[in-house]
Symmetry: C2
Subunit: 187 residues, 2 copies
DNA sequence: CCCGGCATGTAAACAGTTACATGATTGC
DNA sequence: GCAATCATGTAACTGTTTACATGCCGGG
């Protein structure tokens, strides 16, 4: 499917960048649904170069250090737009190790279940707080043809996703606690 | 991380199964957060056998066909429980091609955006309907130590996830339609 | 007898992570 | 001078998918 290819082309379509810049991009907004590290990016850029979908020119920073600033070509833009317009079927549900653990949680002490759930909860609450702070830079829906439009939609989606995860975790904790209380009453 | 290893051990801890049975399991409840196909399962079973975490005995169905029914060993159960009790940090956000497309959606016609969103919407609505029908077999929270307990929690989580995805898709469609209406008013 | 599902495997290709490897620049 | 970050790459390994390959069983 070569998704990384299109993620890179999409980013370069916004503005020219180095491999290093691309790898940083994946830790910002786009990191909420796609990422890659530099060891995957550099070989992919080489391949895109072979396919003539990008070109680069070298910039010197400081005295010697050469930066390869990649730019998308017309051919690259065409391929990217063709991919972007494709209507593809829903993807299979994403893998999630924590949910796998919970699937088997009948094998855990109630206390352990609660501890594991609460640890996830604090982490997701931190993540949500971060996403909400990111959202503050938008006062409303950005212009429909600006790069911010996509950023805004997916950021909103990420916030909704985190809120739901938090809600689920709290529900699970409540269920587990009801069992603990129930046991205490019996004693 | 060998997650598949623990997914298999967890399933075999419920009851003895063949490789074929395991691969079918991944299309049921557990498929909502983990899956693997048979070409990954058979080699993994061989490895678990080498590690003495499982054993098998051969059952004959019909006249000749040999089925290898795998059973978890005491060593296997110990390793599984050790893994299950581990408290691990939150995983990175899962990859999602559709959200990647939407991230770059400023490069699409408004009509195309709506079409793509609506296609996702119908698929997620179907998925939700299916999950809700699955949920009907539960009248309340199953016993805390039964296999159904985990099934119930993660099924509930999957339902919440689908509902949120649907809500997000509808929101995106509404935003895109507001633009279309706006343009029409101008004409 | 034929087809769909049962049943088990291997091989090749692709995707992704972790580790190895090197060196420059900038700010303190 | 030193540490953090900028900058680019390769190698080895792990995980996953797709395709190849084979054969039995049960019902219509």
């Amino acid at each position: 499917m070569r998704v990384l290819k299109y993620a890179i082309l999409g980013l370069l379509n916004r503005k020219p960048m180095t491999g290093y810049d691309l790898s940083k991009e994946f830790s910002y907004q786009i990191g909420n649904f796609w990422s890659a590290n530099h060891s995957q990016i550099y070989p992919e850029l080489k391949r895109l170069l072979d396919e003539k979908l990008v070109v680069y020119n070298i910039e010197i920073s400081g005295d010697v250090l050469e930066k390869k600033v990649y730019t998308i070509t017309e051919k690259g833009r065409k391929e990217f737009l063709k991919w972007l317009n494709k209507d593809e079927p829903m993807e299979p549900t994403p893998k999630n190790v924590f949910r796998l653990r919970m699937y088997f949680s009948n094998n855990l002490d109630i206390e352990t279940r609660i501890r594991l759930l609460e640890h996830q909860l604090v982490q997701h609450e931190e993540k949500l707080a971060f996403l909400l702070s990111e959202m503050q830079r938008y006062s409303g829906v950005p212009p429909f043809d600006s790069d911010d439009f996509g950023d805004y939609l997916v950021l909103d989606g990420a916030i909704m996703r985190e809120k739901t995860t938090i809600e689920w975790l709290k529900k699970c904790i409540k269920i587990c606690q009801s069992k603990t209380n129930c046991d205490e009453e019996r004693n």
